[in-house]
Amino acid sequence: MKTVLILGASSEVALALANQLAAKSCELILAARNSDRLAAVKSDLAIRFGINVTLAEFDALRPDTHKNFYESLEPKPDTAICVFGYLGDHTKAMVDWQESATIVMSNYVGAVSILNVIANDFENRKEGMIVGISSVAGERGRQSNYVYGSAKAGFTAYLSGLRNRLFKSGVRVITVKPGFMKTRMLAGMKTSAFLTAQPERAAALIIRAMQRKKDVVYVLPVWKWIMLIIRNIPEFTFKKLKL
């Protein structure tokens, strides 16, 4: 890891990743919407760690701009972490197509669009690492958030296929499946501390997975066992549950 591209850099997990990667002397490209909001982050990392930080304008919801965005990056990254996502409002999404579309666009379509471009470049260079932050919500559709869950399920399947394709080129693909994280996304939700990762802890686990070259990693690890159970509940029982 020398130059790391963080897509969706204004989220708290992304900022924690930026901090911890800067401490490991990685150069950073922070890509986000209205990236000038991150000017303070850029100066902070440069002053504390003496690294180069580039801010880049990136909008996950505009796939038509993704090719140009990537081509204009200089230097090119050797690691890309796809952090952006949109939880949305499920109750609204059930009745409002626009909300559903934004959830699907952000979590799936936008991710596929930018990672297609990056995957081709890494494959040509025969190096690199792609990290996708998916979600445990993608493991089984639940009535409370299946629009988000299905988009993340699509993203998880995409990452799995991409890993399979890029294996022979020496490009690693890591799927990260967070459970609850204590960020603005869950600001309104009361979650069990045992199941909830602080953004700094999540970032540390993601970086550890990158160093250990894992394929799939849960954040926190306890979610691996929870999801094992949830995946194995027979459908005739699952459909009656209030999840």
Binding site: S10, A40, D44, I47, R184, G188, M189
Partner: protein
Amino acid sequence: MASDFITNWNNYPLAKSNVSSPVLAEDFSAQLSIGSPFIVRGNGRCYGDASLAPSVTSTLKFNRIIYFDDRKGIITCESGLLLTDILDVIMPRGWFLPVTPGTRFITVGGAVASDVHGKNHHKDGSFSQHVLSLKILTPKGDVIYCNASENSEYFWFTCGGMGLTGIILEVTFSLKKIETGYIRQVQIKSGGLDEVLDLFEQYGHYTYSVAWIDCLKTGSDFGRSILMLGEHATVPELNGARHAFPKKSSTLSVPFYFPSFVLNGLSVKAFNSVFYGKNYKKEMHSMATCESFFYPLDAILHWNRIYGKRGFVQYQFVIPKERGKEGVRNILNRISSKGWGSFLAVLKLFGTQQGPISFNMEGYTLALDIPINDKLFSFLDELDLMVKDYGGRIYLTKDARMKPEIFHSTYPNASNFVSFLNKVDPEKKIVSLLSRRLEIK
């Protein structure tokens, strides 16, 4: 938003609060536009209710360094940055904080809102005197810059304004040049209170001075104390024996709240005897790291837990110099006679002060911790009246219980402060338990 019980360093009072933690400046604007009142909170190191409210906005995730000129010694940072994180960046490059309180675990925004003072107050004034510029999000939603010459009214009411004038977003301040991370320290043992009060003036040329008093001693030993003086050490003074900037030392932690019987007259006496006895000569010279000189208690994380779950009060007042000796003596006498147990009584002679609402004034300040008991608050009310009669006042940052009339009659600019706040925050969007208790807004 999840609601939790939070409390400040003295564990009193306890407040049920919704806490949000903005990450970017825009999140603060969003918080303001919600319209329900809140107070901004840093690292919760004040001793009272200044940063408590039913709704609290924490700055701890708003903590970046925006600018650092290591030739001129000027730094700009977001308000949630801790002093300890600033020190990690500036000390290796030969700079120190212009003013630091006794803990480095406070935010720079808190340092401004409390207009903190340090051991060099008689020489360098309080923190606000070194601030070059503040960037503030006003309660009306405007972003303004202010300092002693531009928007100066806003600036001076923000320094020591307990976070009530708006949200401090960024602080630019000047640093102090140092050659080494060491302090050339002199400790002078003093038999009694009158002696130590005189020593302050005698040793006024030292940059740093503070005295620790054993306030349980009565009779001829009453007010026995140790005056601690310091100067930043130069490279030649280290004699090449040490690396100019030492590594940080490790910390201990108090892992749980002590039961309240642990701290009694006897255990405090024992502690103070050991502490006093350690200074076996009348005058001792030594080389101390900045860390151990400025932040002796930071070496024991969660030391506040020794006072038990019920919490404690840190009573800090200042009395003008003319009547300071008499005032300190009489008040300390009253406290000693109660024998309620204080590890620390810290005495310091302040220099002159500029800020209209800041606590500091030229005179003697005494601070001591007292564990909370049923009779404490009525006793402190009596002490307040004594402080008031001597023309002194109580430090808001350390206050959890003062009556509003004491505040309004001892802070000479209290009514100007209140009308300024009415002007800049007519909808009362920024409100704390302290501002309600003291009838400020």
